[in-house]
């Protein structure tokens, strides 16, 4: 039996889940990941599933295709797609549905494409495999989709290999792959999360127009409410595997009912108080830094200058590849700069890490993006936080233990966590340990490299407020490296925008954010999704009028 496409009637539910329960196995015990969720998806409707990690949104997305991850099982409930129960359906029948009537768009296009085949052959594969259309017809349809998705040179785009196109283009190609058979429903699992904001903007726009043009329904899974506001007709907020709230997108944004939804909406509103830093006293000063990987490699940093007034937060913002993390590596001496001058509290620093004194190292600390790999999993928390105390201040035994407990309290963790191992802590707690470790050295400056980007929004919010509180208490300065402008807005006093290894614009954060002067800063700032409906179209109109955009930008950069 092959279910055929039924297109009659525009009302009616395409997908109906009732009391869906999915369990996951941890060692020998099964625990519920999804705890009885009801979901209705109408034809031509885009439903946004929003929640933090562990909310069960991806699990629901997969269940919508009758699928579960390894180590999981559907424990109860029903999943009815267009009148057919997906649970317990035999594999052959399900295969005839997947790819043809239900398609999936994953987060990482780079991982979804086989690098050894051309994009075109992979885009049409499902259509040809399922005998939906002839290879020639499929290719024709693919070209039409490339055009619809605004991919460059649609006639020949399919002949390229995955490594020959950019990340944003590959993500759109994956969308073409999902759409080639003209499915009734597409499951989008965080399709723009891994992209830079300017790229995300282009992908979102192309995606929205293509979905509307093709009259498809979809489940859009994301953690970013602002993104979902641009696309979804309806939003379902999930937490701990349960539905928190569900409603029309507009209603959710304007009048959220649940506290949790309100919390998500309020994320990263400005946290900092107005401060007037002493402009004369610069704690960290970088002057004309030039750096490359390998002596003859291309310059990753070109004449970068930056200074951080004492007791303030300087944000360095840019997209991937802009050189912002390299700047941190150059400042810390991990990647000795080829030229330039680094000054810490008025004292010039040697370029090489090994040539710096222990005292200089103490005064410049760092917090990392991923707490999972920045804290040694084999050490107890007491050792993690205590080691800098021993190294810098010679503290041991009882005194060290007391100081560790003090530091734990300072980062709002119970003192008995000193006896735990990192694996017993959550991501946000581990990041707090990372902060305590940096704090233990009593530094002048802490470099924070994307410290919140691996965390859920509400948790990230907590980390940011903690950092600000510590700044108020200790007068510490931060260099905050991030790609996330909302974070900058929330905590930075000054901001430097980096693009292709240079600082293109810098100044007082509020001014730069309000009224950027350079083209790139304008493009970057206007690409950050805002939590209002119709923002996507507004920005597109504005850009068309002034002819700015990613394409225009890369042309002018000219390499």
């Amino acid at each position: 039996m092959t279910p055929t496409r039924t297109n009659e009637g525009d009302g009616g539910d395409l997908l109906q889940m009732r009391d869906l329960r999915v369990e996951g196995r941890v060692e020998e015990t099964w625990s519920e990941i999804v705890k009885g969720v009801d979901l209705d998806l109408r034809r031509r409707e885009l439903l946004g599933l929003i929640g933090e990690s562990g909310a069960g949104k991806s699990t629901i997305g997969l269940a919508a295709m009758g699928h579960v991850r390894a180590g999981c099982r559907i424990a109860g409930g029903s999943i009815v797609f267009d009148g057919v129960e997906l649970r317990g359906m035999d594999n052959a029948t399900r295969r005839s549905l997947l790819g043809v009537r239900i398609a999936y768009v994953a987060q990482s296009a780079a991982a979804a494409f086989n690098p050894a085949h051309t994009i075109g052959s992979q885009v049409i594969e499902a259509a040809v495999q399922h005998d939906v259309m002839s290879p020639a017809a499929a290719r024709k349809r693919a070209v039409a989709l490339y055009r619809q998705l605004r991919l460059p040179a649609p006639e020949t785009f399919g002949r390229r290999y995955p490594h020959q196109v950019s990340g944003g283009q590959l993500q759109r190609a994956m969308l073409a792959m999902a759409m080639v058979c003209g499915p009734d429903m597409i499951v989008f699992d965080e399709p723009t999360t891994a992209l830079d904001v300017t790229t995300q903007f282009e992908v979102l726009l192309a995606m929205k127009q293509a979905i509307k043009a093709e009259n498809m329904a979809g489940l859009y899974i994301t953690h970013d409410l602002a993104v979902v506001a641009q696309l979804a007709d309806r939003v379902m907020v999930l937490r701990y595997g349960e539905t928190v709230e569900e409603g029309e997108t507009e209603r959710i944004l304007d009048a959220p009912q649940a506290d949790y939804t309100r919390q998500l909406l309020n994320v990263r509103k400005a946290l900092k108080s107005d401060r007037h830093p002493d402009e004369g006293d610069h704690v960290l000063r970088l002057d004309g830094i030039t750096a490359s990987y390998g002596r003859d490699g291309p310059r990753v940093l070109e004449d970068v200058s930056l200074s951080v007034p004492r007791g303030t937060t300087a944000a360095i913002v840019g997209e991937s590849g802009s050189g912002k993390s390299t700047l941190a590596r150059a400042a810390t001496g991990l990647l000795p700069p080829l030229g330039g001058r680094i000054e810490l509290a008025g004292e010039p620093l040697r370029h090489r890490l090994r040539q710096r004194t222990l005292e200089q190292l103490r005064r410049l600390q760092m917090i990392y993006q991923m707490p999972d790999v920045s804290i040694n999993p084999a050490q107890r928390i007491e050792v993690v936080i205590g080691r800098p105390l021993t190294l810098y201040f010679g503290m041991t035994g009882r005194a060290r233990r007391e100081r560790v407990e003090q530091l734990l309290q300072q980062v709002e963790l119970p003192p008995d966590y000193a006896d735990r191992r990192p694996s017993e802590l959550s991501g946000g707690q581990k990041q707090r340990i990372g902060i305590a470790r940096a704090l233990a050295a009593e530094p002048d400056v802490i470099i924070c490299d994307e410290v919140t980007s691996a965390l859920d929004q509400v948790v990230a919010q907590g980390i940011l407020s903690l950092l600000l509180r510590l700044q108020d208490e200790t007068g510490i300065s931060y260099v905050f490296i991030t790609h996330d402008l909302a974070t900058v807005r929330a905590i930075a006093d000054t901001v430097a925008v980096m693009y292709q290894g240079r600082i293109v614009e810098s100044g007082v954060a509020d001014e730069v954010l309000r009224d950027p002067q350079t083209d790139y800063a304008k493009l970057l700032l206007s690409s950050v999704p805002e939590m209002k409906i119709g923002w996507l179209e507004e920005v597109e109109q504005a850009r068309k009028a002034r002819h700015v955009g990613v394409e225009a930008m890369t042309e002018s950069a000219g390499d």
Binding site: A70, G71, L334, L353, M366, V373, S374, I375, P388, L391
Partner: protein, 275 residues
């Protein structure tokens, strides 16, 4: 401790069997003088006696009690293999981590030297070195440890390479830690699982290597009881249908299999294969 017991209780039958056999071997090795009915070197009867009430496993080519020699053999062979393996790990792990931490020229030099040593078949190289330096037990241990450490080096370097790129190692550098501290406190604890599994396997190879050397006459020297040389000394009996030389051979085989059972179980646990 409780977790350890629970893990042990949940082990598959093969692993339990393996652990029991290893425990038995160690017990035998430690208490050999108490367990053996006769002395290690004492000639107690006629040559080539068959199994009987006085000599459960008969006597060997010089009229020594086979059972006593098998028991003392456990002590000699197992302990020499254990010491050689530990020495091999000490050398291999330190060198491997040094290469992983230093990279660049140091890594190149160490790795190419190791490649050079590994390109010569280990048994031939071992025989050559033992011929040159003589066949005392310290020399035997050193030669085996050096040769086997090349294999350990490769593993330690590969595992170390994966760990040095972690942010916590970078954080240690930024903190101002020295190389030795980083190797000892940041890398080693996280490399322990693969190294312990490798230790089990390596021990088997060393053990077999010693037995092979002894069989060839360049290993543990008579009259010290050793399973490899015992096989050789009584090898001619096999053509008369007497199974005596198979007894020390079986002792070697059983221990090898037992260690492999345990290592398999351990690897299965640490590698996440159970998912």
């Amino acid at each position: 401790m409780q977790r350890f017991i629970r893990t042990l209780a949940g082990a598959p039958l093969t692993a339990k069997l393996g652990l029991a056999i290893i425990a038995l071997y160690l017990f035998t090795a430690v208490f050999a003088p108490l367990l053996a009915p006769y002395g290690e070197r004492a000639i107690v009867g006629a040559q080539y006696l068959g199994p009987g009430p006085d000599h459960w496993l008969g006597t060997d080519n010089l009229g020594r009690d086979m059972l006593s020699r098998v028991i003392f053999g456990a002590r000699n062979t197992v302990f020499i293999a254990l010491i050689a393996t530990m020495l091999a790990f000490l050398i291999g792990v330190v060198m491997g981590f040094t290469a992983a931490v230093s990279r660049g020229l140091v890594d190149q030099i160490l790795s190419r030297v190791v490649d050079g040593i590994m390109s010569i078949p280990i048994l031939i190289f071992g025989l050559l070195l033992l011929t040159v330096f003589g066949t005392s037990i310290p020399v035997l241990i050193t030669v085996i440890a050096v040769l086997e450490s090349t294999r350990v080096y490769r593993l330690a370097r590969a595992v170390g390479m994966n760990i040095v790129v972690m942010d916590y190692v970078e954080a240690a550098y930024l903190r101002g830690e020295g190389t030795w501290w980083i190797m000892r406190h940041e890398i080693l604890p996280n490399a322990l699982s693969p190294l312990i599994a490798e230790f089990g396997l390596r021990f088997c190879f060393v053990f077999l290597f010693i037995s092979a050397l002894s069989f060839l006459g360049l290993g543990i020297q008579p009259p010290t009881a050793d399973w490899g040389s015992m096989v050789r000394a009584n090898a001619s009996l096999i053509s008369f249908g007497d199974p005596t030389p198979l007894i020390p051979a079986a002792a070697i085989a059983v221990l090898t299999v037992a260690v492999n059972f345990v290592v398999d179980w351990f690897l299965y646990n640490v590698s996440g294969l159970q998912e």
